[in-house]
């Protein structure tokens, strides 16, 4: 077993200053820019710094300090926390099911003192860490072995099943995708993937039969939003009106009528992108989309640049998670997919999501700072 002391002895110059210099400051700047966009949008949504924007800034400040602190911790130490983290997230999911706070027909929140946690968000990070830990020692040959993949599949299915039971279809789906992306990047064979994909349509049919009424309503609404303009289709229609009326150049800061007159539901959380698109137009909407894409590329860059499998897989998992957030959220507000209650990371208002995202960003920063460290691995070759 390798201890911290021996590590530091092995790399004597790897002090705090060196680590700070190795922090991916461009990435940090991009995150700050994204949070800044969130501040501006929330300022507009709340009609001033209260009640959203100011808190958003404070939370981001705390999140940033937390992320930078995480970046200073050796990734190998964080890697050792993978399994406890996974176990904790499963425990929280189970607790949520047992005594969670019911909101909008689904148990998703867990009250811990003053803090409301969304364990499904933590579970995604926990899963990414666990899968990265599972695969980081495995050789390419080993990954090709179905017997080695079965525990990985179970690792994925356990949280996905618990989230499905909440029931939170959207997050369960995203969690499954995050897991699948890591397994794919770890080297799962293509024929194995093809084999797994075969029964999917059949499973989907069964799944639809088990959907809750409100979930089915979302799918129906998505297909025909105008069929129920004041009911389930209301959100999609109002969001599209916000976007469409924004036009090319937008209505201007604080001038968005859809948002300011409360036609937009949940404008400060799920539909924050609609405000931005309404007030800043297509130009602003595309600029934010570009910023998000840049951040995704940067995370992938961190993954590609990393020299150990744990960091790569973890970064890739987090990138997938970020991508799924961004895609589902924007697709939702533009009416491309059914409404799913997925926030836009670092832009939407919400403490729990911000905490989880910044924790993941901290892990990423640590991966980047410690991109060249060597894990003492058991070599299979």
């Amino acid at each position: 077993m390798l201890t911290e002391k021996r590590l530091l002895r092995a790399e004597p110059n790897f002090g705090l200053l060196t680590k700070l210099l190795r922090v991916h400051w461009l990435f940090v700047a991009l995150l700050c820019a994204l949070a800044g966009v969130g501040y501006v949008a929330l300022y507009s949504a709340g009609g001033g710094p209260e009640p959203y924007a100011w808190r958003h800034a404070i939370r981001f400040g705390f999140g940033l300090v937390m992320a930078l602190s995480l970046a200073m911790i050796d990734i190998r130490i964080l890697a050792r926390l993978s399994w406890p983290m996974y176990a904790l997230s499963i425990l929280l999911l189970a607790l949520t099911l047992k005594m969670g706070h019911v909101g909008k027909g689904a148990e998703r929140w867990l009250d811990i003192g003053p803090l409301q946690l969304q364990p499904s968000e933590i579970a995604k990070v926990g899963l990414a860490m666990a899968l990265a830990a599972w695969f980081h020692r495995a050789s390419y040959e080993r990954v090709g072995n179905p017997l080695f993949l079965i525990p990985a599949a179970l690792l994925i299915l356990l949280p996905v099943g618990l989230i499905l039971k909440e029931p939170n279809l959207g997050t369960a789906f995203i969690t499954a995708i995050v897991g699948a992306s890591i397994v794919t990047a770890a080297g799962m064979r293509l024929w194995q993937m093809a084999l797994l994909a075969l029964p999917l349509p059949f499973l989907a049919t069964i799944a639809y039969g088990h959907l809750h009424d409100y979930q089915r309503a979302r799918i129906t609404t998505f297909l025909h939003p105008e069929s129920d303009p004041l009911g389930a289709g209301y959100n999609i229609i109002q969001s599209k009106i916000a976007l469409g009326s924004g036009g090319l150049w937008g209505k201007g800061f604080m001038q968005g009528t859809q948002a300011h007159l409360n036609f937009l539901p949940e404008k400060q959380t799920d539909f924050i992108y609609s405000i931005i698109a309404e007030e800043w137009g297509l130009v602003g909407a595309l600029a934010l989309l570009a910023l998000l894409l840049l951040i995704l590329w940067t995370i992938m860059g961190i993954a590609l640049r990393c020299r150990h499998q744990y960091g790569r897989l973890l970064a890739l998992g987090i990138a997938t998670n970020m991508f799924m957030y961004v895609f589902v959220n924007i697709a939702m507000v533009t009416g491309a997919i059914p409404v799913g209650g997925v926030p836009l990371p670092l832009v939407s208002h919400g403490g729990s999501a911000m905490l989880t995202v910044m924790f993941a960003m901290g892990l990423l920063l640590s991966v980047h700072v410690h991109r060249d460290v060597e894990f003492l691995e058991r070599r299979d070759d």
Partner: protein, 625 residues
């Protein structure tokens, strides 16, 4: 090492593929944004505008109704009402309890408030109590700190300063019914009233005014954020009546407790100066809602307080019809102006004997004498000679049996049995029916308004039409000048003869209406009495002297009528008075008409510019001309 490189290569390849996939997916979203924001932007911009702007109508203040001198007879007064704004109080039941301790609330009120509150959003006020008195309003204001969520606001009520005195002419307003509202959004506004009777109904379109509108920015739940644009409403036109409010009040006073009606007209142009009906009702009650008990009382009363007897009460004209019969006989040539008729006290027609009111008869009479004594036999014979169709044609010339075409709703046409009417009713008409028509009995019916018009036309020889509107929105209505009305196709000599008869009725010794003399120097009144039976008097009763109409139950007593005009030598005013079941026209209706005409002559509303509110000089003090 090689294995590790393989692993890295696979990761890199697949990670890059994923990156490409993610980039493609976000590009697709960018394309979607372009579609929604630019290609379909215009459509969504319209939708957003509709989302944002809500147009609300502003009810227009109703136009006022004033009398000929500008005195308001229907106006708008503010009234206070208490509203509950649920979002401003933490405890609605407590607020209502506190309110009820100041101003009583019934169980029904509380139930309604509860129901409306549940239907409305918290920021939309719910009516708690309407028509608060000044005292109640003051109490609420004083206790305002205990009444969180209660606000007092001002609505308008229709106000009728003359109350019951002019209720039948002015009419009243009430909230429109669902079927009336229909597609008209203006009528759906809270507090909007529409005319239900009288001038309020007839001139509804002029009085209503034009609703304004206000465009407001609202949010998705309908809360008003700010006002964008406002077009004020235009108050309805002011309607100036031909009536004189002070005279109207005086006439009502003269009618006293009788179930009666009186119409005073300017006989040169048909302007109605007073149109009184007693008993009456309080027109303002309809605005706030008439109680069941009140409604039953009105509708079950034999004196029909809700009916405008002047225009819708039909009575046999009795002897007041005799001028018409005389003129018909003269016009037909069957009776010459100088011809005499002998009255033995009855006339026999086949097996039937028709009695004169005077046992023993009047002896030989000419037309003037016939009218003066109101001899029945004279006019039985005159009608028989002229024939019923000639009588009907003459009656129609005077507007009897025809729609009076007055600018009031619900005026009745009465009944003159013309040939056409008889054919329609397939009734056998015999000579006896014609004879009875000669004294205005039988099926003949007329309204007091028609009788007033009839006398006006006799007095002036012009076919004046009665009307009650002088100006609308300041514009004069046609018909104010005597020249506006055509001269009737009746020789002036015939009219002179009839007028002389009417003069004799009042002023000659032995006339039937000595009580109707004005007693004013230089001004003489000419008139005619009428007592019309509502029940046939049996021969047995008549012969045995058992007939005394004063002992009959009220509803079987004859109506008392009097029609007149004055001054005799330069006719200006005409009046018709009908006292329901008043027995004798000469004793009951004639003195009433005299008192009314004294007021009219002294006040002279048609010629003088009397300042509004000036009281009528009472007839006791004789005023010089």
């Amino acid at each position: 090492m090689k294995q590790q490189a393989r692993r890295t290569a696979v990761f890199t390849r697949r990670a890059l593929l994923m990156m490409a996939g993610q980039t493609a997916a976000l590009s697709y979203l960018g394309f979607r944004l372009y579609r929604v924001q630019v290609e379909e932007g215009a459509r969504y911009a319209t939708l957003a505008e509709n989302n944002r702007v809500s147009t609300r109508l502003l009810a227009a203040p109703r136009g006022r109704i004033v009398d000929r001198f500008g005195e308001v007879v229907a106006g708008n007064t503010p009234h206070w009402r208490a509203l509950l704004l649920a979002e401003e109080t933490t405890d609605v039941p407590a607020t209502l309890r506190a309110f009820a301790s100041l101003v009583p609330l019934s169980e029904a009120d509380l139930a309604r408030i509860d129901r409306e509150r549940k239907q409305q959003r918290r920021f939309i006020p719910v009516l708690v109590r309407d028509f608060l008195s000044w005292d109640e309003m003051a109490k609420i204001e004083v206790h305002a700190p205990d009444l969180a969520g209660i606000l007092v606001d001002v609505g308008t009520t229709r106000h009728y300063p003359l109350g019951p005195d002019l209720a039948h002419v002015v009419g009243y307003v009430a909230p429109p019914g669902d079927s009336e509202v229909g597609d008209d959004p203006v009528l759906a506004l809270p507090g909007v009233r529409i005319g239900r009777a009288g001038v309020e109904k007839f001139h509804e379109d002029d009085l209503r005014g034009e609703a304004g509108q206000v465009q407001m920015e609202v949010n998705s739940v309908g809360r008003v954020i700010r006002e964008l644009n406002r077009t004020e409403s235009t108050q309805g036109d002011e309607v100036t009546l031909t009536l004189d409010a002070e005279l109207q009040k005086a006439v009502i006073t003269h009618l006293g407790d009788e179930s009666a009606s009186a119409v005073v007209m300017d006989c040169t142009n048909g302007e109605v100066l007073a149109m009184a009906t007693h008993p009456s009702f309080d027109p303002s009650l309809f605005d706030s809602g008439v109680s069941q008990a009140q409604w039953v009382e009105w509708t079950s009363s034999k004196q029909t307080p809700l009916i405008n007897k002047a225009t819708a009460g039909v009575y046999p004209p009795g002897s007041t019809f005799k001028m018409c019969v005389g003129l018909a006989a003269l016009a037909s040539g069957a009776l010459g102006p100088e011809d005499h008729i002998f009255c033995p006290g009855y006339i026999d027609l086949g097996n039937t004997r028709f009695h004169c009111w005077k046992k023993g008869g009047h002896g030989t009479l000419d037309m003037k004498g016939g009218l003066k004594h109101s001899c029945d036999v004279f006019f039985y014979d005159a009608a028989r000679r002229a024939g019923i169709d000639a009588v009907a044609a003459m009656a129609n010339q005077f507007g009897l049996g025809l729609d009076p075409a007055i600018d009031l709703p619900g005026a009745r046409r009465g009944l003159i049995p013309t040939a056409e009417w008889r054919a329609r009713h397939r009734r056998h008409w015999n000579a006896g029916d014609t004879v009875v028509s000669g004294i205005g009995q039988g099926v003949i019916q007329a309204t007091p308004l028609q009788l007033a018009t009839y006398v006006s036309r006799i007095a002036t020889g012009r076919a004046v039409q009665p009307h009650v509107t002088r100006l609308i929105g300041g514009d004069p209505m046609p018909g104010a000048a005597p020249g506006d009305w055509p001269v009737m196709d009746i020789p002036e000599a015939h009219l002179e003869l009839v007028r002389a008869g009417m003069f004799a009725v009042v002023n000659d010794v032995g006339g039937t209406a000595p009580h109707a003399r004005l007693g004013l120097p230089g001004v003489a009144l000419a008139g005619k009495t009428g007592s019309s039976q509502v029940r046939r008097v049996s021969r047995w009763a008549r012969e045995h002297g058992h007939f005394n109409s004063a002992q009959l139950p009220w509803e079987f007593r004859p109506h008392a009528l009097f029609v007149c005009f004055a001054p005799y030598d330069a006719p200006r005013y005409a009046a018709a008075v009908v006292v329901e079941h008043g027995n004798a026209g000469a004793d009951v209706a004639a003195p009433l008409a005299r008192d009314i005409m004294r007021d009219v002559i002294e006040r002279d509303p048609a010629r003088r510019n009397v300042a509004p509110g000036q009281a009528v000089a009472m007839s006791a003090q004789a005023a010089g001309p």
